[in-house]
């Protein structure tokens, strides 16, 4: 293992030396080799972020490595340098996105529909609450949760994408839940 680490270090250092001397192919190979490592780091540190954001962060790190490639000294090891830049940019990226933690809506789907089952005793209360929503949200809630129409049909009727529909539904259900607890 120790041996392997040593060879990666030597290979990457050699590729970087060639890169800054103007060898674009060595540079492309280096960046291609480090990208999966960066993905691993980003994935390990960013479990709370949506997978599509991971790749954005990986690209931000690659851009920073490029912008700061003049700060690697040939007489210093390259891996600590790479990891220091990666760490700095990953922390930075997470801080920037920190305010909004994204949870995939799919995880809630079953739960939401189960909650909204047409219980006859609760139906009247639900109608009152749904009436307090804006028209579009109310339509979505009635169609999907109460009448149990398929998502695709509802989204087609309202001219929105499936994903947008699910988000809108989730928000509306959240509001209803809050109101339900409040009254």
């Amino acid at each position: 293992m120790q041996d392997q680490v040593g060879t990666t270090e030597a290979r990457w250092a050699a590729l970087m030396r060639a890169s800054v001397a103007g060898d674009g192919r060595a540079y492309a190979r280096l960046l291609t080799e480090i990208t999966p490592v960066l993905r691993g780091i980003v994935r390990a540190r960013g479990r709370t972020f949506a997978p599509d954001q991971h790749e954005d962060i990986v690209q931000e790190v690659l851009l920073s490595i490029h912008a700061k490639r003049n700060t690697w000294r040939e007489d210093h090891p390259i891996k600590p340098w790479l990891y220091a830049i990666t760490r700095h940019k990953v922390v930075d990226a997470f801080r920037k996105r920190g305010a909004s933690v994204v949870l995939p809506i799919e995880d809630f789907e079953d739960e939401l529909e189960a909650d909204a089952g047409p219980d006859p005793m609760a139906r009247r209360d639900v109608d009152v609450l749904v009436g307090r929503l804006d028209i579009r949200s109310a339509t979505i809630v009635r169609a999907v949760a109460l009448e149990e129409l398929p998502h695709a049909e509802v989204s087609a009727r309202l001219g929105m994408t499936d994903a947008a529909l699910r988000v809108a539904l989730h928000r509306a259900m959240k509001k209803l839940q809050d109101w339900g607890k409040g009254t």
Partner: protein, 211 residues
């Protein structure tokens, strides 16, 4: 954009000139020395500098900030490397700073020094702190510009060090002009001036050194 596309775009432009630590140090040194040369060249060193230097307390006034400057300057290029923050050897500054503290405490037991500790008055303080601060402006700015070319991972800390280097260098040069030889005066007010430069460097660094 696809990551592969990004890589091929970046690799079209791979050439770069690696930073040179000695260049960073030389430019910072020059930025300290040039304003001092202009200042001392215009107003001259204090009258009877040679004679005054027979007093060890006058020698210490120049040597202490000079040693601090010489120890702090090589730390600056380290901070231009992203992994360099962990390698700083600021503990080496402990010796001259402890020496300064010891001198301060010892002087407190010297009734003569205590008696004359206000010899400069407010004018003396303003002159000393003001001139060292003025002489620090150029080197603080140059130090921050050089750090900006690097990849600083702790902007506040790196900026503070740039200010500290500038302030201690300026203080060492200014001491050749300064006629107040009471350690209670120069230890306190040189430290205040160096501290102000450090604070300014830290605040500016936080703005200038992000990437």
């Amino acid at each position: 954009m696809d990551t592969e596309d990004l890589i091929s775009k970046l690799s079209a432009n791979s050439r770069a000139a690696p930073m040179d630590d000695r260049r960073v140090m030389a430019l910072t040194f020059g930025a300290v020395a040039l304003p001092l040369a202009l200042f001392l060249g215009t107003l001259g060193v204090r009258h009877g500098l040679g004679l005054a230097l027979s007093n060890p307390l006058v020698v210490v006034k120049t040597v202490l900030p000079l040693v601090i400057f010489a120890l702090a300057l090589p730390e600056l290029p380290r901070l231009t490397r992203p992994e360099g923050t962990q390698e700083t050897k600021l503990y080496r500054l402990a010796l001259p700073i402890l020496a300064a503290l010891a001198l301060f405490v010892l002087t407190l037991f010297n009734p003569e020094a205590l008696e004359s500790r206000r010899e400069g008055g407010l004018v003396g303080v303003v002159e000393c702190v003001g001139l060292i601060s003025l002489l620090s402006i150029v080197p603080v700015w140059v130090g921050l510009r050089l750090l900006r070319q690097g990849a600083v991972t702790r902007p506040g800390f790196a900026g503070a060090l740039a200010g500290f280097v500038a302030g201690s260098g300026a203080a060492a040069g200014y001491s050749l002009f300064c006629t107040r030889d009471n350690p209670l005066f120069y230890l306190v007010w040189y430290s205040v001036a160096i501290g102000l430069a450090t604070l300014a460097g830290s605040l500016l660094g936080r703005r200038m050194l992000r990437w």
